[in-house]
Symmetry: C2
Subunit: 253 residues, 2 copies
Amino acid sequence: METFAAPWALACPDAFPSQEAIVQIEIWSDVVCPWCAIGKRRFEAALADFAHRDDVDVWWRSYELDPSAPRRRPEPLVEHLADKYELDQQRAQEFQDFMTSMAAEEGLAFRLDIAQPGNTFDAHRLLHLAAERGLQDTVKERFLIAYLSDGEAVGEPEVLARLAGEAGLDAGEVEAVLTGDAYADAVRTDQRAARQLGISGVPFFAFNRTHGVSGAQPPDVFAQALDETWATTRPLEPVGEAGETTCGPGGCA
Amino acid sequence: METFAAPWALACPDAFPSQEAIVQIEIWSDVVCPWCAIGKRRFEAALADFAHRDDVDVWWRSYELDPSAPRRRPEPLVEHLADKYELDQQRAQEFQDFMTSMAAEEGLAFRLDIAQPGNTFDAHRLLHLAAERGLQDTVKERFLIAYLSDGEAVGEPEVLARLAGEAGLDAGEVEAVLTGDAYADAVRTDQRAARQLGISGVPFFAFNRTHGVSGAQPPDVFAQALDETWATTRPLEPVGEAGETTCGPGGCA
């Protein structure tokens, strides 16, 4: 069984989308990540069946699979994979076909033959803006489909600006992020937290920082994680008796 | 036994002083709070004897006992207390004498006869600046002693600026905070978290958001909270088997 670092050794997230939800789920993920899209669907299926789903919030955390990538790689994905992992092109193609068929089972129409991989740092910065605007899931979904199905070059600022606009973000705010360095620290904080947790692959799902699921596991695993997290979410354990040693708005005891 | 809200229903703190510590202790407290200073000494005594004290970080959270207070109240503290709580002045004086003798047992020389109560919102904003500069405990200590022992008007910006400088903060940074509204949101976030936790008096100590101590309890209660927190700090519980469903820097499984 894998183990992960103590959750409180983590960089604290900047903010959660809601401060009211009882179960806070953080999902480390990249845009150029087939298993992340498949895992998103499997997780969503479990969440839809979870009785307490209205008490759950989801926060997409940044994880760059290829931080040194250029904005857009000139070669097709299959060639890049064959080069990078020293596979023959036939094997790389078989892998793409396998991922495509796995995705189809979740209702996703992957077109990896036209995929344009590239650097995702700016996409992650926009996902932090989207979180502040209550649009993180919508933008995450748009970016994933853009890369995996639509052949969009998600490392290019003008492509990101268009996609972000389609997902409902304000054009001026998006432009300001893309031309500046807003949310760069937030992306790095997420990735530092991933390292501290011991995450070496994505998607990775943390539930209230008490339970973790690694990978695009079947919906019943996510259901189990939701149930177990719900069952173990408890109030602070009071130590000692409060006694008469506090000051409050009504004066000191 | 008091109970408090589920810790993950809380507003997430902006940042912890260190992202490495295993035990993160948050202390909600005000500057104009006798029990807060006494509780600080009792807590410090327990922490000094804790075997894992190097793995502990402390974060002072904002809690205004009297948010509607003016910068400086014109009357002596004893008169203000008598008015506010409809005590005769003799009783208010006895209470002050009691607090002073409790403080003396912790080595604190309270001078409540010269105390100048006032609004503490700006003091809390400066404590957030101090946290970012690694000086939060030093500044917190200076503000508490200034109010409780030195008769300083801790609601007045020029007094705060002087005290913050004595504690090592940069004069220009302090001036910028006091003349703007930096950290106002951070103060409000801390106070929202206090409400969500059900905190109705300070000091209140949360340990890793799993254990809580309300009030200036004896050092052995803090020692127990440290021990119990340490014993229950554990890694994320993995749910399911990781399987071959992740993408990593080395490619997708």
